[in-house]
Symmetry: D2
């Protein structure tokens, strides 16, 4: 499994299991001379961390990042940035009940099949805990991107959908509520609903929308490494993601070309933006926006039947402190992956012209 | 732009513009000893080629592939397979009207911005003509995959949706109609609709569903190179694709975890398959299925306004022989990209255990 | 075998066997806007091609390259450059005697072992014929490199060594003799010696020295992708190469640090250049120079004993038209690989600073 | 600078500067199920560490490795192995004298030029301290390689050369003396010489020979990723290395093909081994052996002239605790890099046949 590296020039390699000593990574290729705001990095980690509100898992993990290299006198040096987050609150006993059986719709079964055995103390490498390393690297990428602004927010929870385009929203409200939905009224409904689901010991899915603004023209490496293809892969690599669409997306298939085409203004911008800021895999300078579908997390706090390694039926009971809905905590992860892609493609684009 | 290579071990690099001398590629890493059925390769090319029916572009391109290396006495040798398809019918004059202006929602503008100038004879590298090279490589990948079966079909055209799950369909009917929809009644409606759109000189989008069967357990390289993440990137790299969802996809977000979880049978298979055959980025042995959204192609045979390189407004008229709806011809392209991913991940999976 | 791609951003993938239909490649990542001198490319091919003088193989191969893509109106477009050289004079029967036995110190045996079977019509993929594709790509790289000048020459044939530093030589004399040694007197001795070896039906090794001038400071990607490490790999990937040394090389180990250290001039240049133009894997602006050792080619036109596939002893006779000494024809190959590395590292270096 | 990753499937990414918080790395792609002997890993680290004898630097660094992930119940899990070695004895003040000037033949100048500034507390990323991370990963690779045996030893120090082939040596004597030369008499002379050099405050170069035994047939990925090309790159990436030769190397160029060719035995082995165990870039089952040239380290404890950032001449005095000769401590580094290459190519070779 050498699938733990992301990016070509701005390159992140991560390590770590949910119940190991530490998680972390190596960010290689980050250009030299970036003044790093370490507080901003910790802030993004805090937006992802457990226990931040009543609608997320109540696990307590400080998630404090230690930097080991690549930073000198507050600036990046161009050498790899090594970092780690130690696991302080492993509570293995919470997981002992799953040692010998496979949780439905978890990765337990496939890891056992693929590797021959697994770290049975929780999700191991398949746990979303790994994404904390992505948030660290993404927060650094954001600081490299300068004017480019990346905002993600929750646009759907279960059946509750925010029926507004991103242009109608005030991104400054995203952090004003625990759901991270910038529409206060909808956010309240979503919060209510998540609490209800939690009481039931159940979970529910959601959708996150991400918007990237102030994008220069020309980012993207056709034909295989189109900008939206890499963004799609980045988002689909996040735990529990089931779908990705950008611009007009799945709704766009119903339109006619004459209506879907984005007419030019004389400055090269377009009157509409069904394209989602990308043409032929290359950014055209308009806003990039996309939606990401998250399934309901598999861990339900209910009794369920499953099988053990020998294929015997076993009845068991979901335990532990889990998220009833993953999207509020996934917002900074989406932003981080978007930032990593945009940073990598910014560097790739420097190599194109004589 | 070094974005023209796909895959890590089963690796395709393509070249070629719509109006160049030839398109083609190098397929490296194809294992030695595969008995190649060259007819099957040409058949897939013929399924993609123009002029095959009344509802696709009437351009005439034989699309005959020549193999230059990597095959000896009917078998792959383990050395790179070089191949080319010569462009026989370039009709550049069809495109002369676009030399100095940018077609809305085409890649003309971004290519000029990114590279400083472009091959203005049509789409150049951004033309879907490039995908013929993918079909050649994908057809070889299919022959490596043995029992694994990959079937793609058209499940939506504009508003016309095939409201059946793939289990209700007979894949042997896919090639029975020009739309490549395995439900005869729906196919007829779709064909009618596409003809109407064509008369209007307009275009419409569609959805292709792809199903991969007889998949071994264990394919996928978490955390970044999850199987569905790579499938998503592969599909999003196809011209005109705007979205990808697998398993329960965007609909699944509305479900509760207790209902969404796939309960195990004692043999490790699952009673339901909301997961879409993939858990934690690794195949679990169930069928893999996903949907791909295609936008309406941008070339409409109507008058439209646009701008030239200097940013002056120009009025022009769409010309040429184009597809009113891209999905019927995109079916073999989707299958090819799926085959390339499955072949690459099959090889990667050989390296995992002691 | 996915080992047929070289480079990260300026990326060459090659295909082709000595007795297949054609050899060629895809050069991806070549920046847009380079005015290509196609004659210069063919000239480098002609320097490598058989039959050019009395001391090289008398095979007749025109080695005419056809370009398929990536060039428009005489300039690179930034899209992949596909090219092929058709094999016109295969003379398979010359090789029929080796179908069932393994030539000593050839790759016949290992290819059979690795891939299960092989194209027995000559060297197949292991033939130096493949290097013609490298020369095409390298000739393009040279045109991207502008002021950077790459000169290779023969500095040793068998025991005959050119005991002059490159500073004492006139590179304009390299092409003045068939050996490609810029010292006329030594060249004459070498030519004589190669003719004698040829009469004996034997072969001999040699050394090529390569010098890269006008190198900007800063090329190189420590710690693993140091500039000299990549140059070394590039040279070692050429057929028959057994060794690589740069700067003071193997002789330098005898020196003391106080004598080996290169003292600075006030402009950052150094008074001596034992470093060979590279410090810590990064170019320092001084000339880069290195030596490459080539073994005597294995094909001798003499009787020899060997084994067949079943391990039976067989006596046979070397046939065909082969090079008594490979270095004269290898000079343009060395230059080509050096140019590919310098072009790739020039692009990589653009991504380093904010 | 994304040049800090080595390997395709068995992939090491390292981080860390000589005076940062810690050095370490991520080893990705290590197959699951390997019983790890952690003591053996620490033993290799101890062979590399400072202060181990009178002829190496007297710096005190315990070099204790901490593993963060990828190991469970004593076995590798197939997930990335994250590890770190904290820097305990930084002694920055030893280096304060170099803050504003460039040490001749060090990387100070090129790092400043390439990145715009540098961590001036010693070598930073260009320090050989980084190689401790390679030794950790290489020690794990050795445990994956099973029967394959890798032995490196010092074969030359300055003018003192060990004039014996590796077959004449007893590898069990390598660790019997501080020089790591398996010939006791020669080792004693070398030790004496290194002590003399040290007294002079000077340094001297050396050669390390490495032998790989019990190699399976078939490792190597032509045409660019030939086994010896990757071994060469691996060795050239080690600090202070100036040359690499394998098999007959530079001496072999003087031989005639008829004498250089390795005649077959009926079992496929060869009577001689001028090839060095590799044909056409693929292992042939015979021993692989190669030599690596190390220059005299640049840090001399003498007065010297140099320049500062503004290009002014400055006179200064070499200080600190440095190695008079680098080869004794470089032996485990050479073994580690060889092990990483052999592990990666073992995995790559699993993907070749149907």
């Amino acid at each position: 499994m050498a699938g733990n590296t992301f990016g070509t020039l701005f390159k992140l390699s991560t390590f770590g299991e949910s119940h190991g000593v530490a998680i972390g990574g190596v960010l290689d290729g980050c250009p030299a001379g970036i003044e790093l705001n370490l507080e901003a990095i910790q802030e993004d980690l805090d937006r992802r961390k457990p226990g931040q509100s009543a609608i997320v898992t109540q696990r307590k993990e400080p998630d404090t990042v230690e930097f080991y290299s690549g930073i000198f006198e507050g600036k990046t040096t161009g050498t790899p940035i090594g970092f780690a987050i130690h696991n302080t609150n492993q509570k293995s006993h919470d997981y002992s009940h799953i040692k010998d059986s496979y949780r439905p719709s978890h990765a337990d079964y496939v890891y056992d099949q693929k590797y021959g055995f697994r770290d049975y103390r929780g999700g191991g490498r398949s746990s979303a805990r790994e994404t904390a390393s992505r948030v660290v690297a993404g927060a650094i990428a954001k600081q490299f991107l300068g004017d480019m602004k990346i905002n993600a927010y929750v646009s759907q929870v279960g059946e509750l959908s925010l029926n507004k385009s991103y242009q109608e929203l005030d991104f400054s409200l995203i952090e004003s509520n625990p759901v991270r939905c910038p529409d206060t009224a909808t956010a309240a409904k979503m919060e209510e609903y998540i609490k209800k689901i939690k009481k039931e010991g159940d979970t529910v899915g959601g959708v996150i929308t991400c918007v990237i603004q102030n994008v220069p023209v020309g980012l993207g490496e056709p034909v295989f490494d189109k900008l939206h293809a890499e963004l799609g892969k980045a988002m689909l690599s996040i735990n529990a993601v089931k779908g990705f669409e950008y611009g007009s997306g799945f709704e766009g298939v119903k339109m006619k070309g004459s209506a879907h085409n984005d007419q030019f203004n004389t400055d090269g911008s377009t009157k509409t933006n069904h394209s989602g800021g990308i043409q032929g895999g290359i950014s055209n300078g308009m806003d990039i926006y996309f939606n990401i579908a998250f399934k309901p997390v598999a861990t339900v706090i209910q009794a369920y039947d499953t099988i053990d390694k020998e294929g015997n039926k076993v009845s068991t009971q979901g335990k532990g402190r889990h998220d009833p809905c993953v999207v509020p905590r996934a917002v900074p992860i989406v932003e981080a992956m978007a930032a990593l892609v945009m940073a990598d493609y910014t560097l790739l684009n420097r190599t194109i012209k004589l």
